[in-house]
Amino acid sequence: MEAVTQSIQGVPLNHYILLSAIIFSIGVMGVLIRRNAIIIFMSIELMLNAVNLLFTAFSAHRGDAAGQVFVFFVMALAAAEVAIGLAIIVMIYRNTNSTDINVLNRLKW
C-alpha cells in the first residue's frame, strides 16, 4: 500500500483539477448531444463523479477529512436521485413510449 500512495506523490494538483474539468465537460457534452433521457442521466452521474474526485483530491492534499465526508454524502444523494430519476423515466416511458427528451416539451408558453 505504501508504494501505491508513494506513486501519487508529485502529481501537480492542477492536473487533478484538469482531469475533473475534462470529465465534467464530457458530462456536459453528453447532456447536450444526447436525447435519450437515460444517457443524459448517466452524463450527470459523470459530472457528479468528476466533482467527487476533485473533492477527494483536495481533501487528501489538505489533510482534511471533511472533503471525503462530502463525497460520501454526494454518493448518498446520487443514489437517491437516481432512484427518483429512473422512476420518473419509467413513468414517462410508460406514458409516451419513449425516453426522448424532445418529446417532453410541454413545459412551454
Binding site: 447536450l32 436525447r35 427528451i101 410541454r106
Partner: protein, 635 residues
Amino acid sequence: MINLVWLIPLFPLIGFLINGLGRSFLPKGAVGFIGSLTVFLSFAVSLGIFFELNGSVTKSFTIQLFDWIQVGNLSIPFSFQVDPLSSLMLLIVTGIGFLIHVYSIGYMHHDTGFAKFFSYLNLFVFFMLLLVLGSNYVVMFIGWEGVGLCSYLLIGFWFSNPAYASAAKKAFVMNRIGDLGFLIAIFLIFNTFNSVEFAKVFPQAASLTAGSDVITLITILLFVGATGKSAQIPLFTWLPDAMAGPTPVSALIHAATMVTAGIYMIARSNILFTLAPFTLDIIAVVGLATAILAALIAITQTDIKKVLAYSTVSQLGYMFLGLGVGAYTGAFFHVITHAFFKALLFLGAGSVIHAVSNEQDMRSMGGLKSKLPVTFYTMLMGTIAISGLPPFSGFFSKDEILAHAYEHSKLLWLIGVIGAMFTAFYMFRMLFLTFFGKFRGTTEQQAHLHESPASMTFPLIVLAVLSIIGGFIGVPEALHGNHWLAGFLEPVFSASEQRTGASHLDHSTEYILMTVSVIAAVVASFIAYLRYARNNHVPVPDTAERTAFANVSYNKFYIDEIYDALITKPLNILSGFFYRIVDKTFIDGFVNGLGRATAEAGKGLRLLQTGNIGFYIFIMIAGIVALLVYGFYNI
C-alpha cells in the same frame, strides 16, 4: 363724508343681495324700489362727497378698507381713492344709474326676470363703483372684470335665444383679451415702480424721462386693456352685438358707464401716457380710425339700437382721439356729456321699442312724432347734442377735442370733422326715419302705439335737460367761459399739463374751427332731412341690391366674418388637430405604444421558453461560460 366712501359701493351690493336672494318672493314693486333706492343712496353720498371735495383744499383722499393680497413685498390693499376725477365719475355712474333703474321699473315691468334684472343691474353698479373708486390698479381691475361679468350676464339676459347668449360670450371674451393686456401692464407697473398704488406710482413716474421703453410698453398694454373695454379697433365688434341685452342695459353699460372705463383708466394714468408720446400717437390714430369706421357703418344700419351702438363706438373713438392728442380734460368732458345724451338716446330708443311692441327695425317705424311726443322731443335734444350743435352739451366737449386735435395735427382734425359730419347725418337719419313720415309697421303694432309711462319719461326729461345744459360746465375761454371742469380736474392732470404746456391756440382760430364743425354738422343734418324727412326715403330691405359701398357698410365691413375666418376657425381647426392628431394619435399613441411594445416583447421572449430541455441546458452552459469569463477575466 369722504370717510364714508365705502358706503357708495356697499349700497348697490346690498341691493344686489336683497334682490338676488329674494327674487323668488319679493313683489316687483319692492324689487324696483330697493334697486333704485340703493343706487339713489349712493348718488346722495356721492353728491355729498363731491361738494366736500369741491370745498376742500386737499384734492385726493385714500381710504383703506383691509389688506387684500399680501405676498412678500407685494401688498395690495383694498382701498378707495377719492379725487376730482373719481368723484365726477361717481356722480355719473350713480346719477345716470339711478335714472336708468327708475326707467327699468317701467321698461322691464312685463319681464319674468324682473328681480334678476335689478339684481344684476345693482351688481353692475357695485363693480363699476369699485372700478372708479379703486386706489390701485388691482382694485380697479376687480371692477374692470366685474363690469365685464355683469355685461355678460345682462347681454345674455334673454339667454333662451342662442344668438343673444353668443353675443354675451363674445363680449366677455373680447373684454378678456383686453384684460390680459391690462393684467400684464399691472405686473409691469409693479415691477417698475414696486407698487400698484396710484398714489405711489404716479409721483415716481413723473420723474422718469419721456419715451422710455418701459413706459411705452406699460401704456401700450394698458391701452390694449382699454380697447377691449371701450370697444376700439380691433376689439370693437362685441359692442354692437351687445345690443342683444335689454335697452336700459345698453344705455347704462354700453353707452354711459362701462365702455367709458377705458377712457377713465387712461385719464387716471395720464402721467404715464404723457410720458409715452408714441403710445399717444397710436391712441389718437386708433381712436380716430374707430370713430370713422363706426360712423361709416352706422350710416346704413337699420336697427335703431345698432345705429346707436355704432354711434357709441364712434364717440368713444373721439374720446380716445382726445386722449391721444393730450386733451385729457376734453376727453373726460366728452365722457360726461356723452353719458348724458347717449343714455338719453338709448332710453328714448327703448321707449320707441317699447311702444312698437319690441320692433327694432327702423324700416318698420316712422311717424311716431305725434304718438310719442315726449320721447320725440327728448330724443331730438339728444340728437342735436350728439351732432355738436351749440349750445348743446356735445358741442363743447367735441369742440374741445377737435381743437386739441387741430393743435396736434391738422389732418387728424380734418378727419375728425368729417367724422362729426357723419355723426350728424346718421343721427338725424335715425331720428327722421323713426319719427317722421308715415307709420310703416303692422296695424297691430299701430293699434298698440302709446307713450311710455312716467317712470320712463321722467328719466328722459332729466337726461334731456342735462344734455342741453351739461356743456356749460366746460365753456372754453374763447367763449368767455371759465371752464369750471378744467379747473376742477386740474389736480389730476396737472403733472401732464406741466409737460405738455397749455393750449396756445388763439381765439380767432378757435372760432374758425368751431364754425367749420358747426357748419359741417348743420349741412349733414340738412342732407339727412332732405333725404329721409322730405323725400321719405326708406332703406331697402335686406334682400334688395345695394351699391358696393352700402353693402360693405351694411355688413359692417365684414369684420366679424374676417375675425371668424382668421381667428375663430383656425383656432377650432387647431383644437381639433391637437386633440385628434397630437393628443390621441401622437402622445397617447406613444404611451399606448409603449404598453403594446412591452406586450409584444413579452410575446417574443415567450418563444424562448421552448420546453426543450436540451435548449435550456444549452443556454445554461452559455450562461456559466459567460459568468466564468466575466468573473475571471474581468471583461
